[in-house]
Every structure is written in structure tokens, then in C-alpha cells.
């Protein structure tokens, strides 16, 4: 059995860092290692924060959590593309680009805190606006399960429910910008998730009305970037199209003053 190839030499991490109003590029030279990813490289800098000019600097700040691509913490732009840094293997980038420089930058659609860390609170606020929960009466055991769910429906719900609020979709979306109130694709996809649940369905009109607001589905320009960058392969454009149709139906129903409970 052949062991992994041995790699020698160095590569450069070029990082857009700093605080709001004071961002700058800084480069770090690191040993190449076949197992290195962006996170392990940032950890190396932490231990010895010296840039390529030989100057002592501060360690780079970044957000991290599970490092298994299920928590959504370590979102950033790697070579300009929104993604999770934990799955960003350095050697893959070097192979794909032919360059030994990898760039890191913070997301641009959220308020910058420092270096690679932004504040994604707005995404969680959006989940409140669209009532992304199941409105059960209480937490006492009723002794009963909810309605049966087919494996096919479960599978669809599960995929929608793997959204880790990482923000890659919003970062890639041209319609999420300072001139628009659009909540972004993730929240719209959550509307679909909760409207598809047998109990969640009961609040469908309220969620659709949130989707009809200025921050809602009208903001989507169908650029379809979101679905291309989603690390979880969530069918976001499908969700957006569906919510768009359902929200229009809700608008008509509301115009005709039909009761909320009626099923479409």
C-alpha cells in the first residue's frame, strides 16, 4: 500500500483582515502539509504570528466550532468563494489553481467584527420573522406521535432541515445588499420546511405573510448563486420558487378575506 505523497516547500496564506474601516491584506508563509486545511493553517499562525515581511503581528481572528461541516461557524471567502473553512484543503487549492497562494477574506454581506469574523445575527432574526418553529401546545407528553410521515417526505424535510445558517447563500446572493431588505434564501427555505410539516402547516399563512413582506420572497432575483454555494446541497432555488408561488396564492386569499385555516 502506497502511503500518502510527501509534499515539501511552503505556501502563502493571504488574508484580508482588520476591523471595519481598517481592513488590509497580510500574508503568512507556512509549511506545506498534505493534511493541511485552512483551519489548521490559521492555528499555526496563532502559535507564531509572524507575517511574510518578518514582522510580529496579532494572530488572525476567525470563527470555528465542529470542524466537521455541521455547525456553520467557519464560513469565510476562500479564494473568493463562500464556504466552510474546515473542509478547505490547502493542497486541493494549490492543485486546482496552480498557485501556492490561498486567499482568505471575511463575508461582505454581514457586519464585520474583526479579521475573518462577521456578525450573522440577522440570519437568526430572520428565523424569528418567518416563525421557523412548530407551534405545539406544550411540552407534556401526550402519549401520541404526530401524524405519520412517509420516508420520502421525511427525506425531503431532513434535507431542508440540515441548513446550518452558515450564510454562504446570502453571501453569494446579489439581492442581499445594503439597498435591499431581502432576508436571504435560507429563511425562505425554512418557510418551506415548516409549512411542509404536518403540525407546522397550521401556521402556514402567517409564514407566507412574512414571506410577502418587503424582506421576503420578492427580493429574490433568481440569480441561482445560492444553490451553487450551499455546502449542504439544499435545493434552495426550488424552495424559493415554491414559496414564491404559495405566497402569491396567500396574497389572493388575504385579498378575498378567506379564513386562514383553509388549505390551498
Amino acid at each position: 500500500m502506497k502511503s500518502k505523497e510527501i509534499i515539501s516547500g511552503t505556501f502563502t496564506l493571504r488574508i484580508f483582515r482588520g476591523v471595519p474601516g481598517g481592513q488590509f491584506w497580510e500574508e503568512f508563509e507556512l509549511e506545506r502539509n498534505v493534511d493541511a486545511n485552512v483551519i489548521s493553517s490559521l492555528m499555526e499562525i496563532q502559535k507564531n504570528p509572524i507575517n511574510t515581511k518578518g514582522e510580529k503581528t496579532t494572530p488572525v481572528a476567525w470563527e470555528q466550532g465542529c470542524l466537521e461541516e455541521v455547525c456553520g461557524s467557519c464560513s469565510m471567502l476562500v479564494n473568493g468563494k463562500p464556504r466552510q473553512a474546515c473542509t478547505a484543503l490547502i493542497e486541493n487549492f494549490i492543485r486546482e489553481t496552480g498557485s501556492t497562494t490561498v486567499t482568505l477574506a471575511p463575508f461582505t454581506k454581514f457586519p464585520l467584527i474583526r479579521d475573518l469574523v462577521v456578525d450573522r445575527t440577522s440570519m437568526f432574526e430572520a428565523l424569528k420573522k418567518v416563525k421557523a418553529w412548530i407551534p405545539i401546545d406544550g411540552y407534556t407528553d401526550t402519549g401520541k406521535f404526530g401524524p405519520v410521515i412517509s420516508p420520502e417526505v421525511q427525506d425531503a424535510l431532513y434535507v431542508l432541515s440540515t441548513c446550518m445558517t452558515c450564510g454562504c447563500c446570502s453571501e453569494s446572493c446579489p439581492q442581499v445588499n445594503p439597498n435591499s431588505d431581502f432576508m436571504g434564501p435560507a429563511a425562505m427555505s425554512q418557510v418551506r420546511l415548516f409549512n411542509s410539516n404536518p403540525i407546522g402547516k397550521l401556521q402556514k399563512p402567517q409564514r407566507l405573510r412574512a414571506a410577502l413582506s418587503d424582506e421576503g420572497i420578492a427580493g429574490c432575483g433568481n440569480a441561482q448563486n445560492c444553490v451553487r454555494v450551499c455546502p449542504k446541497n439544499i435545493p434552495l432555488t426550488e424552495s424559493l420558487a415554491l414559496i414564491g408561488r404559495e405566497a402569491s396564492k396567500q396574497a389572493i386569499k388575504d385579498f378575498l378575506s378567506l379564513p386562514d385555516a383553509s388549505e390551498s
Binding site: 500500500m1 502511503s3 493534511d35 493541511a36 486545511n37 483551519i39 492555528m43 502559535k47 507564531n48 510580529k56 496579532t58 494572530p59 481572528a61 470563527e63 470555528q64 466550532g65 465542529c66 470542524l67 466537521e68 455541521v70 455547525c71 461557524s73 474546515c86 473542509t87 484543503l89 493542497e91 486541493n92 467584527i113 474583526r114 479579521d115 450573522r120 437568526f124 424569528k128 416563525k131 421557523a132 418553529w133 412548530i134 407551534p135 411540552y139 407534556t140 407528553d141 402519549g143 401520541k144 406521535f145 404526530g146 405519520v148 410521515i149 412517509s150 420516508p151 421525511q154 424535510l157 431532513y158 432541515s161 440540515t162 446550518m164 445558517t165 415548516f194 410539516n197 403540525i199 407546522g200
Partner: protein, 629 residues
């Protein structure tokens, strides 16, 4: 009449246990202040892959919560108190129904019912699951409920804030906490009638573990240094199959071996090794793969329990047979038929994503890794039929009004946790805490805490911050962390022996001295992660000492605590809970012991060599159990 004051509760930590607590408290009309170092939706519970054990017997196997309790007690090698385990298992079916109602997308049978799979340490199909990310889905369901309460104003979140210390009033009752804002290092006081700690495990003490990087153990370490008893610290679960990485160890699920994955190294007939049957045999044949687990354990083969698997991998590597001389062996699915590989797709994809290699073509390189913290904050648990049941409080630490729950407490798992029991223990513990806390607050006399108590605690923390930020020295906290983790991984994980543990304790004390000479590479206040980590480090180090000292003293082999010099479980001397207490005047933890509550089941040998379904008899089961659900 004056309006009754709302009960104020601080919950620190927003994983499954913290969120279950917060949700129940909100229902009980408390005002919850939820403190978390991250967005709670990113907590470590998301990493749990396999499932949640619920003995609801939907597969016609005659399973029952009592058998589940038996498996759990035995799996924990009889070190766990039995009353909390019994009630946890009894509450399982209700918890499953609750989680299902709040939208957790469990896998379904063709009839549309919740489906179950088999997991380690049991012969029953008892594990409900959601694809390959059950923990994530359970956490999201609770997170959504808590968000619903947040929208109503009953829950207030303090995310990106870290617990620093508990504030105690003149009677020694918890009345608040000091925390800092991770974005700007501002130190704040939060006031409350009770405090719940749900801060998870301590994998980061070993640096590379399967845990998230949040899991430093610092909150428990800080509380321990404030007088909280810490129990069973030496019990740390090592999972046999993780992907070695430069930044962390990533878990490869047991299901890979369940579907036929084989563990091997290159054989070397010039080397000899002791087999479990007592014979000494060559390490396979030179030039051929050596499937050592299959040869050593012909009945269980690659599916030996986690602790045995980890120990044998280590032993084989110690014989110089590790891949590339490293502590690594192959886990091979290349020979599996395509449909089996397909069943494992999501797990195999994880390996491919993180290593860049396709496990369908090349065997995976895996190694044992620190996985779960069985020990934790000592908490009380009056059983249902104890005469003082209603004057004591479940999940409350020895610090009055300070509760501890989830992986950060010590209950439910004893000396070894069974796969898929952690999610259940976290949700159950959270629901219990959500009921016990308001009952505790109702029992309190009306007292006003003088403002000076809060002010002093705040100033003390501000002083520590100022000092640490301005300190000059030659040591680097990240390098000290590497050193501590290296010693802990070598001497306080899979295999322990007393001379090494003594050396490790001396090393930890040396690191404690050297920490006094660190200087920070960042002295600013905006998102200064170097400071935050340096502030956590001393508390982590004290818990490392608790682990090492507990392991040194415990001269037996029980569950995850393996000491070759003492190869048997020794109930006469060691059927007892280890309790560590901090004494600032001493340089090592003070260790004492407490009897284990074995009122339902007498200890039997923990033997997995003979597989047989049986109906266990538990005695003295109380008739008046009230489940928190």
C-alpha cells in the same frame, strides 16, 4: 396585591441540555437568560451522528425501558448511580414523542413510523436517528422552540458571551454570574435566582479530540476552582475510529464496521503479540494484511466494543505496526459490494471531503480519539421514594442554586457511555432541571442581594483581565496547550500507568508555573481570541490535574479507565465515585470518594463475549416516579 416577581434563571450553554432546560423553564413561566459562547444553534450537540436510544419496542423485540436501564448500567461498568438512569430510560418514549411533535425529522419506516437501528452495547433495535446527523436535528428542534420563546420575550439570549464566574450571596447561594462579551471583552454581571451550567465536555484539554473547539471544559474548571465538586474526572471515552487531522479528530461512525468494514495493518511475522486468549502469536504474515481484531476476537471481530477496539489499535501500533509508524491503522471498505458502500455514503463522503482520498478506492486511515467526558460536575439526585425527595433538588451541584446538566454533569454514564445514550441524557437532564429549578426558587426565602456583592465580583474579573492583558513573559499559551494536550493524550487516555501519571501530574504543575510567564500576542479588546483562550487555560489545566490524579489513584480496570497493572474491576475497593475538590492552598486536587447507588441491580461482570438476549430483573423500583414530561 403586587405582581409576583418572575423567576429569573441563567442557563449557561445552548447545546441539547441547555436548550431543553431553557425550553422547559420558559414553559414554567420563568424568565431565562441564555448565555453561550456561540450562536446556540452551532453548539457541539450538532456533531452527534448515530442516534438517540429509546426503548419503545416498535420492532416487536420485547424491548423495554428496564432493559435499556440494565444495558446502560452494565455498559457504564456499574459506576453510575442507578436512580437517574432508570428514570432517564423510562422517560425515553415520551421524549421521542415530544421531539417528533416539535418537528425533528426522524427516519421513517415504510408505514410512516419512526425507524430504529442497532447500536453498540445492546442487542435491540433501539436507536432512532435522523440521517447521519441526529444530534444536529434534535438540537435544531429545541433551538426552534427556544427561539419561539425568545420571540415572546420569555427567553433572552446572550450569545457570544462567556461565563467567567458564579456569584454567591452571603448564604452561599448562586445569585448571578460574571461573563464577558467575546466581541469586545466587556465584563458584565447577570443576576438571577438560580444558575444552570450546561457547557458540555472538555475534549480541548486533549486539543485534538472529536469535540468542537468550544468544548474547553473552562466553565466547569472555573466552578471547580470556586468550590464545585467534580466527579469521576478520570473517565474519558476514547472512540476507536476517527480521522486523524492536523486541527481535530473527526469521527467515523461505528456503522462502517457494522456494514462490514475491516480493520487491518501490514503483517509482520517477525513480531509477536499476546492474544486475549493468553497465547503469544506472530503479528500476521509479512507482506499480507493482518486483520488483528478478527484474529484476536473471532466472535465479535471488528465489532468489539469501543474501549476494546481502542485498546487493541493502540497495542498493535505500539508493536510498531501502525501505518507509516504512526498511531494509525486501516479501516477498509474497498472490498465491500457497491450497495453496502452506498449505504455508508454520507460517512464515506466525510472521509473524502476531509482527506481528499476516496475510501472506496483506498483504505481509510483511522486512529482512536478522545470522544466523551463521562465525569463532570457532581449533582444531587434524590430518588423518587427517598424520604427527603422534596427537600433536595435534582441536578443541583454542592453550590446551592447552581445546577449542572448534560455532558458537563457526571450522571447517567458511569465508567463508559453507550453509543446513542448521550442525546437522551442531555434532553432528559434538561427537562428535569427545567422542573427542579423553579421548585428550588419557590423554596427560597425573600432576600435582597446587596449590590456590592455583584460589584466586587465584577471588579475582580476586570482586575484579572487587566493583569493578563498587560503581562510580559516568554511563554506562549498555545504552545503550553500543545504540551498539556500531548501529555494528557499520551498518559491519560486509552491506557494509564502509575509512573507515567505521576510524571504527567508533575508536568501539569510545571505548565501551571510557566503559565505565569505567558505574554499575549494580542492585547487589544476587539475579538481578542488569544486573551479569551489564555483566560480559559488555567481552568482547563486544573481539570487536567483532576483527570490525571483520579486516574493515578484508581488502581483497577473499569470501563474507559484501563490500567494494565491492575487488569480487573475491583468492586471491593473501587465501586465508588471519585470526587475532586479544589483547595487553593494545595497544588493538587483533593480526592475523596462516595458510594455508588446500586439499589436496583447488583454488579455483574461486564462481559460482551457471549451475546444473548435476556430479561433482567431490577429490584426496588419505586412506584411513585414522576417523569418531567
Amino acid at each position: 396585591m403586587a405582581e409576583k416577581k418572575k423567576k429569573e434563571v441563567i442557563v449557561v450553554g445552548g447545546g441539547l441540555a441547555g436548550l431543553a432546560t431553557a425550553m422547559k423553564l420558559a414553559e414554567k413561566d420563568c424568565h431565562v437568560k441564555l448565555v453561550s459562547v456561540t450562536k446556540v444553534r452551532r453548539s457541539h450537540s450538532v456533531c452527534a451522528q448515530g442516534g438517540i436510544n429509546i426503548a419503545i419496542n416498535l420492532k416487536g423485540e420485547d424491548d423495554s425501558p428496564l432493559i435499556h436501564a440494565y444495558d446502560t448500567i452494565k455498559g457504564g461498568d456499574f459506576l453510575a448511580n442507578q436512580p437517574p438512569i432508570l428514570e432517564m430510560c423510562l422517560a425515553g418514549p415520551g421524549i421521542l414523542r415530544l421531539m417528533e411533535r416539535i418537528g425533528c425529522p426522524f427516519n421513517r419506516t415504510s408505514e410512516g413510523q419512526v425507524d430504529f437501528r442497532r447500536f453498540g452495547g445492546t442487542l435491540y433495535h433501539r436507536t432512532a436517528f435522523c440521517g447521519a446527523s441526529t444530534g444536529q436535528q434534535l438540537l435544531y428542534s429545541l433551538d426552534e422552540q427556544v427561539r419561539r420563546h425568545e420571540a415572546k420575550g420569555t427567553v433572552e439570549k446572550f450569545e457570544n458571551h462567556e461565563f467567567l464566574r458564579l456569584i454567591l450571596n452571603s448564604e452561599g447561594r448562586a445569585c448571578g454570574i460574571v461573563m464577558h462579551d467575546l466581541f469586545n471583552l466587556k465584563v458584565h454581571v447577570l443576576k438571577a435566582d438560580a444558575v444552570v451550567i450546561a457547557t458540555g465536555g472538555l475534549g480541548m484539554i486533549y486539543k485534538k479530540s472529536t469535540n468542537s473547539t468550544f468544548c474547553t471544559g473552562a466553565a466547569n474548571g472555573r466552578l471547580y476552582m470556586q468550590g464545585m465538586k467534580y466527579a469521576n474526572g478520570e473517565f474519558i471515552q476514547i472512540h476507536p475510529t476517527a480521522i486523524p487531522g492536523l486541527d481535530k479528530m473527526r469521527l467515523i461512525s461505528e456503522s462502517v464496521r457494522g456494514e462490514g468494514g475491516r480493520v487491518w495493518v501490514h503483517g509482520d511475522s517477525s513480531k509477536q503479540i499476546l492474544f486475549p486468549d493468553g497465547t503469544t502469536r506472530p503479528c500476521g504474515v509479512t507482506g499480507e494484511p493482518w486483520y488483528f481484531l478478527e484474529e484476536m476476537y473471532p466472535v465479535f471481530g471488528n465489532l468489539v466494543p469501543r474501549d476494546i477496539g481502542s485498546r487493541e489499535v493502540l497495542r498493535v501500533c505500539e508493536h510498531g505496526l501502525g501505518i507509516d509508524g504512526k498511531m494509525q491503522v486501516y479501516l477498509d471498505v474497498t472490498q465491500l459490494p457497491t450497495e453496502k458502500q452506498h449505504k455508508l455514503e454520507s460517512v464515506l463522503d466525510i472521509y473524502r471531503k476531509f482527506t481528499g482520498e476516496d475510501p472506496r478506492k483506498k483504505p481509510m486511515r483511522i486512529c482512536p480519539a478522545v470522544h466523551y467526558t463521562m465525569g463532570g460536575g457532581w449533582v444531587d439526585w434524590p430518588a423518587a421514594d427517598d424520604p427527603d425527595r422534596w427537600t433536595r433538588f435534582r441536578q443541583m451541584t454542592n453550590l446551592k442554586g447552581c445546577f449542572n446538566v448534560g455532558e458537563s454533569d457526571y450522571q447517567y454514564h458511569g465508567a463508559n457511555r453507550l453509543g446513542a445514550n448521550s442525546l437522551l441524557s442531555c434532553i432528559f437532564g434538561g427537562l428535569v432541571t427545567g422542573v427542579e429549578v423553579p421548585r428550588y426558587i419557590d423554596s427560597l426565602p425573600e432576600t435582597e442581594v446587596p449590590e456590592t456583592v455583584y460589584q466586587e465580583a465584577l471588579e475582580e474579573e476586570e482586575e484579572i483581565q487587566k493583569k493578563l492583558l498587560s503581562q510580559e513573559g516568554t511563554e506562549n499559551v498555545y504552545k503550553l496547550h500543545d504540551e498539556m494536550a500531548d501529555w494528557m493524550t499520551r498518559y491519560a487516555s486509552v491506557k494509564r500507568d502509575n509512573p507515567d501519571l505521576k510524571k504527567a501530574i508533575e508536568k501539569l504543575k510545571e505548565i501551571r508555573q510557566r503559565f505565569k510567564h505567558i505574554s499575549l500576542d494580542d492585547r487589544g479588546s476587539v475579538l481578542n481570541q488569544v486573551y479569551v483562550f489564555a483566560r480559559q487555560f488555567p481552568a482547563m489545566l486544573e481539570l487536567a490535574l483532576v483527570i490525571a490524579k483520579g486516574a493515578l489513584l484508581r488502581d483497577e480496570f473499569r470501563g474507559a479507565h484501563f490500567k494494565p497493572e491492575f487488569p480487573e474491576r475491583d468492586d471491593d475497593h473501587w465501586l465508588k465515585t471519585t470526587i475532586a475538590t479544589y483547595d487553593p492552598k494545595k497544588d493538587e486536587p483533593v480526592i475523596s470518594y462516595e458510594a455508588v447507588d446500586i439499589r436496583y441491580l447488583d454488579p455483574v461482570k461486564r462481559d460482551y463475549t457471549k451475546a444473548k438476549k435476556m430479561k433482567p430483573t431490577l429490584k426496588n423500583i419505586p412506584a411513585n416516579i414522576q417523569l418531567p414530561i
